[in-house]
Symmetry: C2
Subunit: 170 residues, 2 copies
């Protein structure tokens, strides 16, 4: 199955000049979703993953699916102020200004082997922050998993030394 056929190009979103890769046609197809999920879980084989951390909001689409299929705990990574309980946080730079992501303080234990998932690897700023956040909590990042990566943005430069995998590349 060619998963590329389920990714829709949308011109000028979220702003003029950007070509957005829309994964909602993939979500609308149960067969394509199952195939993508199967491939995402294959990438985790033999790594001893015991937690999946997924990034708000589009990372949530496959995050809980991966955790459920691997039979491990699920950790939502959210924007500042969205998680109700005690959190640990990580600030990171945007094009203009900064943003902050958080996880619950009890979500990751020392020695946990963590699979980080998001839908797209673009500039890598968010992914780098999630890696640092998981490591701050005592977890070991054994895989950084994406549905797709946009190679022309060189996001992997920010994830040097990490095990980075993606189903699709552009």
């Amino acid at each position: 199955m060619d998963l590329n056929k389920y990714i829709r190009d949308v011109q000028n979103f979220p702003k003029q000049g950007v070509l957005f890769k829309d994964i909602t046609p993939l979500l609308l197809s149960p067969e394509a979703t199952e195939e993508a999920l199967s491939q995402l879980c294959q990438q985790a084989e033999g790594l001893g993953v015991n937690k999946v951390a997924a990034v708000e909001s589009r990372g949530f689409f496959f995050g809980s699916l991966i955790a459920n299929k691997l039979g491990v705990g699920y950790v939502p990574v959210r924007k500042k102020g969205k998680l109700p309980y005690t959190t640990i946080s990580m600030e990171y730079a945007l094009e203009y200004g900064t943003d902050t992501i958080e996880i619950h303080a009890d979500a990751i234990q020392k020695g946990d082997k963590v699979l980080i998932h998001d839908d797209v690897l673009a500039t890598g700023g968010t992914a780098e922050a999630v890696v640092k956040l998981v490591e701050k909590a005592g977890g070991e990042v054994v895989l950084v998993s994406f549905l797709m990566k946009l190679n022309f943005l060189h996001g992997e430069d920010k994830l040097k030394g990490k095990n980075v995998k993606s189903l699709l590349e552009y």
Copy 2:
């Protein structure tokens, strides 16, 4: 299994005086997640569901799991401006002001039997808007599914005539 044990009470979130029901301990337990998912899917038995629409962001935790387990298409319902392609939208009243939710225009076809899922039924304002949005798109709402409902907020009054189910009640 008593799923209640996996719901954490957090005082004064998101604002003073509110007791927040935190589902992240449930997400952290693969066994509790599987049990909740199994119960959520049992509620859909015999209804002919062919699409699951889940509400940003906490509805996404179980939304894709339910769609995957039922083997049907998944439709994310998002806040205004988050979906890249042509959308249809529904405005609804908040305590102060209004909010707007959207789905992609091609997500739901006339005659689709739709399961709507969110984590919590509170005042019912969002759920009512999602029902109207799905029906505007031509879908039939066969089940409105929640992990929990807060009975003292009487959200079901806004969903009269609909098939509303919840795993937990407070």
